[in-house]
């Protein structure tokens, strides 16, 4: 029988991998992908408590559905910004994206 801890552990490991990628990778697309990985880890947690929590309910699944929708919107806008940046500056390296750096 699977326990809550196992799912939470998997989500924590996935979240850590995503956070490390978002902090260290240089290609802006990989940074975006790492953020998606973190969102997926959070979704696993939500579904775990929707199924194995103290009060199992369908609300967790509905909330995950909303989170996925917002994530899809985020990727669409992020990639559009990436394309615009690439057109203007001809690079996809995060270290070169310092237009708004103070």
């Amino acid at each position: 029988m699977l326990s809550v801890e196992q799912f939470l552990t998997l989500a924590a490991i996935l979240f850590s991998i995503g956070l490390y990628g978002a902090l260290t990778k240089r290609n802006i697309i990989i940074v975006l992908v790492s953020i998606e990985l973190m969102l997926n880890a959070v979704n696993i947690n939500l579904l775990t408590f929707a199924r194995y929590g103290l009060m199992p309910a369908i609300s967790g699944q509905v909330f995950t559905l909303f989170a996925m929708t917002i994530a899809a919107a985020e990727v669409a806008v992020g990639l559009a910004i990436l394309i615009a940046l690439y057109r203007n500056r001809n690079t996809s390296d995060v270290r070169d994206q310092d237009l708004m750096k103070w």
Partner: protein, 176 residues
């Protein structure tokens, strides 16, 4: 590692899927070519969809495959192809930044794992039988979405249309 661990088909499947997901995640960080990293993230998304099925969220699992493994991965591939994709992630010279990031991430992950396992929190005992037994998953989500959560549902549709219009505006080439 886990107390009360039983070797059932479900737990074997869970560990294999977890291994696959984590391996794909590590590959995502280590592969040199960006295009291979995008394929690795597709593997992560499919593995997470399998985890969703184990959590009895069938509708979300298939949504995950459609939206993430289908749409988002292909969109990322398009973005990689439209930008400079032949560049190879350079082996960074040993600078302080990745080391501090790794230390911070290991610290945070260790803290989360400590809270999960050793802090003495009593997690709810898993129910032997499903709490949603005999009910249609899609039907339950639909009823919940269109009764209790109808206003958030409408707001999310507005957010989605604004995001799509904004994406088109941002990516559109200005004609002047």
């Amino acid at each position: 590692m886990f107390s009360g661990f039983e070797l059932t088909g479900q737990s074997i499947a869970f560990f294999l899927i977890s291994l696959f997901v984590i391996a794909c995640g590590v590959l995502l960080l280590n592969l040199k070519k960006v295009i291979y990293s995008a394929l690795a993230i597709g593997g992560v998304f499919i593995g997470v969809a399998a985890i969703y099925i184990m959590l009895e969220a069938e509708f979300l699992a298939f949504t995950q495959i459609l939206v993430y493994a289908g749409a988002i991965t292909i969109m990322l591939l398009f973005a990689i192809m439209l930008t400079r994709h032949d560049e190879i992630e350079m082996q960074t010279s040993i600078t302080a930044h990745p080391v501090w990031s790794a230390l911070g991430v290991i610290g945070l992950g260790g803290l989360i794992l400590y809270v999960i396992k050793f802090s003495g929190i009593r997690w709810p005992e898993p129910l032997r039988e499903s709490p949603f037994q005999g009910q249609d998953n899609v039907k339950m989500i639909g009823e919940s979405l269109f009764s209790q959560y109808v206003i958030p549902f409408e707001l999310v549709s507005v957010v989605l249309i604004v995001a799509v219009v904004g994406a088109i505006t941002l990516a559109n080439k200005e004609e002047n």
